[in-house]
Symmetry: C3
Subunit: 140 residues, 3 copies
């Protein structure tokens, strides 16, 4: 059994956002699967998807702090792809470090995540707008 | 055909560990699949899973050296999520850089890895304890 | 329905290369799938696979600039795995940061990528030679 659908996320500010609930609201089909997995793919190259801590918002703030330091916008001086501003090439880099998709196990009609895990949308642009996901669930 | 199971790894010290054999011991079902893939997911946000060199233990040591320098514990001065100590937020960051799952091709009853590839458990905490994986194999 | 095949890429120079067209030429089976996903796995530990911008070649050049700075070859002074030269351990590190596979949605016989997305082969060695992929497509 396979289902596939596009989900358009509400626009997010730059930074790391917990989107587990927003995804689940759009994935009522999940409860038909006893076991399988869900693949969540983002159709953009300046935002990314990852799994991380779901409880304390300061984790998301510290992720933003870290990645802004690790991939600094001042690097624009050393880049060639600069027309869209200092947050563009850095966003491409962050998206490849963090990844454009996550694959998650599905068990008994739910995402089989650890107690402290959630899904993050990582918005790397200052004004990224709505982001489009393709979710594919495969299983029985 | 799909199988799904949880595997509890033996506790590992902080660092990078080759766990291909420990996983295969718990995946005798693999030999029933002629082609497909295996998804290995870790249910934690301070340890991660990656694929890397399977032969020379110094690769694992150098990975630990590099990531401790790239994501230094001294960064705690700039973080808000600090209650669990200096190895906590750094572990969350490393887990998103390295990833919470790997997907591997399965061919003729085995993982279809390159000659030099193995599966790593990356334990980022000083005392991470046992780590829980969910493995899903899909194929025919 | 599942298909699985190996693809041997033409040798690439060190750096980031757009390989979407080279993969599609070898994946005519894709058009038989109305929905599903494609898993593209690289059987090496010193090259990697990622998704990023498909239009402007300077993005690929800037990716190489960034990762050479983030994972510098001068680090060899601090590594133990040094026999194969300064571009070896750095290649292992880059391959785990960027990842050994991508999973992409398949819809209506095509890869369901965003307008600006393409598949990159990231060649981290000075002389990496031909790289071998395993592609598994699953769906209906």
């Amino acid at each position: 059994m396979i289902i596939q659908k596009e989900i358009i996320l509400s626009p997010k500010s730059r930074g790391f956002h917990l989107i587990t609930a927003e995804i689940l609201t759009n994935l009522t089909e999940l409860k038909s699967f006893s076991k399988g997995f869900a693949h969540i793919f983002i159709k953009h190259t300046s935002a990314s998807i990852t799994v991380n801590e779901n409880a304390d918002p300061t984790v998301r703030a510290d992720m933003e702090t870290f990645f802004n330091r690790a991939v600094p916008e001042s690097d624009i001086r050393t880049f060639q792809h600069t027309l869209e501003g200092p947050d563009d090439m850095t966003s491409h880099i962050k998206s490849s470090i963090l990844g454009s998709s996550v694959t998650l196990p599905v068990t008994d009609g739910s995402l089989n995540l650890g107690t402290w895990q959630g899904i993050y949308l990582c918005e790397h642009r200052n004004r990224g707008g709505s982001r489009r996901l393709v979710v594919t669930i495969y299983g029985e």
